[in-house]
């Protein structure tokens, strides 16, 4: 009986989802869905406990999962909607995607985003891996603070302090030796590296912490020099963590809004910044289309990262 209740719950959620596209019929549908949810809860409450002791956990968790996914699903569905307004489902179309491909600003922003993400991820991975190894092996006291604080602080603080640093300190300093410097791609890349280092370091360090220490001693015991030990034993074993870290860094960079917002200056546009502008000025389902594509990309990255190094999925402390 309780299983039936859960099925009713899923149906209710589906109706709730559909109601968003129903235009005027929205409110009656939402009402109906809510009633079904209540009914499912009542049914589950009344049924014998034996039929499914974990019922309430499932009931509540399904609601939370639905809460997480429905809004995104709505964005995706509307990207195929043949209407300028994101209010009611009219018909299927790929129009918005076509317009996206022809939107020069958007394409350039996308190019910038990818370039920045690749560069930042590469540098952050190298520096972050070194930091992760250093923190794990040498129990340093200053380095962990510097590496992990950018991760823990609200992004706006990092963005703002880099803005001041670049314009007020770096720019005049470089100008005095004849180098013209302004906010742009380089500053965004540097900013991204700064906050990505911490993420990579966390992952690499977690990976090292989970390994049997005596393996490295064994390698030296059996005749390997410290460099050989690193090359033949340490590196292969942390490689999954390094790759996962690189993927995470790439994802974080492509998705970043706040830090990029402050350090990009006037000329440089990235995908999130473009989306922001579109949201604030002219909202068309082109936003939905670009969002959907961006989601697919980062989704792929995270799935691969999760496969390569399952530790990424745990202990994000």
């Amino acid at each position: 009986m309780r299983r039936l209740a859960l099925v009713i719950e899923v149906v209710a959620i589906a109706i709730l989802f559909a109601s968003v596209f129903a235009g005027a019929a929205r409110y009656p549908l939402m009402g109906g869905a809510t009633a079904l949810l209540a009914g499912a809860a009542f049914l589950g409450w009344r049924s014998p406990r034996r039929s499914m002791p974990g019922f309430w956990l499932w009931y509540l968790s399904l609601l939370v999962y639905a809460f997480l996914y429905l809004p995104l699903a709505i964005v995706v569905v509307f990207s195929f909607n043949n209407s300028k307004l994101n209010a009611e489902w009219v018909g299927f179309t790929l129009d918005w995607y076509h317009r996206l491909m022809g939107n020069a600003d958007m394409l350039q922003a996308a190019g910038n985003s990818v370039l920045i993400a690749l560069t930042a991820a590469a540098m952050a991975t190298i520096l972050g891996t070194m930091a992760g190894i250093a923190i794990h092996r040498y129990k340093s006291r200053v380095l962990p603070g510097m590496v992990f604080t950018p991760v823990a602080m609200p992004e706006i603080l990092l963005g703002v302090s880099l803005l001041v640093f670049f314009l007020n300190t770096a720019k005049p300093a470089l100008a005095s030796v004849g180098v013209e410097f302004d906010l742009g791609l380089a500053t965004v890349i540097i900013a991204h590296i700064t906050f990505c280092i911490g993420f990579v370091a966390i992952i690499v360090r977690a990976r090292l912490a989970g390994m049997d220490e005596s393996i490295f001693e064994a390698a030296r015991d059996l005749g390997a020099s410290p460099w050989q030990t690193f090359r033949l034993v340490t590196l292969p074993l942390i490689l999954p963590g390094v790759i996962a870290g690189a993927l995470m860094a790439f994802t974080l960079s492509i998705d970043d809004f706040v830090i990029t917002f402050f350090t990009s200056g006037l000329g440089t546009k990235t995908l999130p910044l473009e989306i922001y502008t579109m949201i604030k000025t002219a909202v068309t389902p082109e936003v939905n289309a670009v969002s959907t594509l961006l989601m697919l990309l980062t989704l792929a990255m995270i799935v691969i990262a999760g496969r390569v190094a399952p530790e990424v999925l745990r202990g994000k402390e």
Binding site: S214, E217, A218, A219, R220, D221, G223, S225
Partner: protein, 361 residues
């Protein structure tokens, strides 16, 4: 010349002295064991021999040469770690081949030596498996093969049998003896199990609190412990406070607390009036019913307090009339065994005048 010589090795960690002026020498081809309770310094000593730690004082001589300046990878000494430390990303063959690769051997030599090594430990068919696919005992053997494949001067084993269950442990002990004999490499074995040390070793160094208490063959250590610690740590023993009443040629007359007058073999440096302990192994004691007469000098009446029947032997715990409690071990199927005793039976315990030891303080 001894293969390995340790001279006055000391290692301190802050105020704590882990190894206190230890000197010993190990001969080529022998199975040498460092035995002691946790914290006695045996593992620290092992790590210094391997090169992962440096002594604060003293010398480590391998084939007469001081190896203190040599890093671990350059010493012809390999270690079998307690956790086996197999490389998880390499197959069994690759693990065993590792030291050969580091030594720069060619591919044909490597594959031949790896095959031989795996056969030595009876693991030939697992060559292409990964460590996580193996059982504990199998991982152990891979670690052994890896440590022996390029015939180091010395193989160090750090409590390698600790993680195995009892039956497997016994099997591995026998295999270890066989392996060492066959391969001929000198083993330095660290354990806290005295039974294991007695079974496996040619010689044992019993350690306590950073010092070597006694170093000798197993039978000598068992039969002639030199002090209270060694006597108590090895096997089971009865021990009582004693005072030397008279020290004559080859014999001591002791006054033992709770017992009476005891004849014991003479001990080094034990003179009249000396204080110490009298110790005797349970299997050296004979139990008879009280009425029996006996020619033995050491003969004390008592009552059976309890007994422990363990299938092959029975340990009787006897309360002596004079006050002390003593344990006697009797095999259950000895021919001519008088009788089995019950709790409360009046008995007499006795032993030869040359059994037992006096341990002077």
């Amino acid at each position: 010349m001894a293969l390995l010589e340790l001279r006055n090795i000391t290692r301190r960690f802050g105020d704590f002295v882990a190894v206190d002026d230890v000197s010993l020498s190990i001969e080529a081809g022998e199975f040498f064991t460092l035995l002691g309770p946790s914290g006695c310094g045996k593992t620290t000593l092992l790590r210094m021999i391997a090169g992962f730690d440096l002594p604060d004082a003293g010398q480590i001589l391998l084939d007469g040469k001081d190896v203190a300046h040599t890093p671990p990878e350059k010493r012809p000494i390999h270690t079998v770690f307690q956790s086996y430390a197999l490389f998880p990303h390499m197959t069994v063959s690759q693990n065993v081949a590792f030291p050969l690769k580091m030594a720069g051997k060619g591919p044909e030599d490597i594959s031949r030596l790896v095959r031989e090594a795996l056969n030595d430990v009876h693991l030939g068919e697992k060559a292409n498996h990964f460590p996580h696919e193996l059982s504990g005992g199998q991982k152990q053997r891979v670690a052994l093969a890896r440590g022996l494949v390029n015939r180091p001067r010395l193989l160090l084993l750090d409590e390698p049998l600790g993680a195995l269950d009892a039956k497997l442990r016994e099997e591995m002990q026998l295999e270890l003896i066989e392996l060492q004999k066959e391969v001929g490499v000198t083993f330095v074995f660290v354990t806290h199990s005295q039974a294991e040390a007695l079974a496996l070793s040619h010689r044992i160094a019993v350690m306590n609190r950073g010092r070597v208490e006694q170093m000798d063959e197993p039978s000598k250590i068992y039969g002639f412990p030199r002090n209270r610690f060694v006597a108590d740590f090895i096997g089971n023993i009865n021990m009582y406070e004693a005072e030397v009443k008279e020290a004559a040629a080859g014999q001591l007359r002791l006054q033992v607390a709770g017992m009476g007058e005891v004849s014991a073999p003479s001990a080094e440096g034990a003179g009249t009036g000396g204080q110490g302990a009298f110790a005797i192994r349970p299997e050296q004691i004979r139990i008879a019913s009280r009425e029996e007469t006996s020619p033995l000098k050491n003969h004390f009446p008592g009552k059976v307090h309890d007994f422990l029947y363990t299938g092959d032997v029975t340990t009787y715990i006897v309360d002596l009339d004079a006050g002390a409690q003593i344990e006697a071990l009797l095999p259950n199927s000895a021919p001519g065994r008088a009788k089995f005793f019950e709790v409360g039976d009046r008995v007499a315990v006795e032993w030869r005048h040359d059994a037992g030891v006096f341990l002077g303080d």
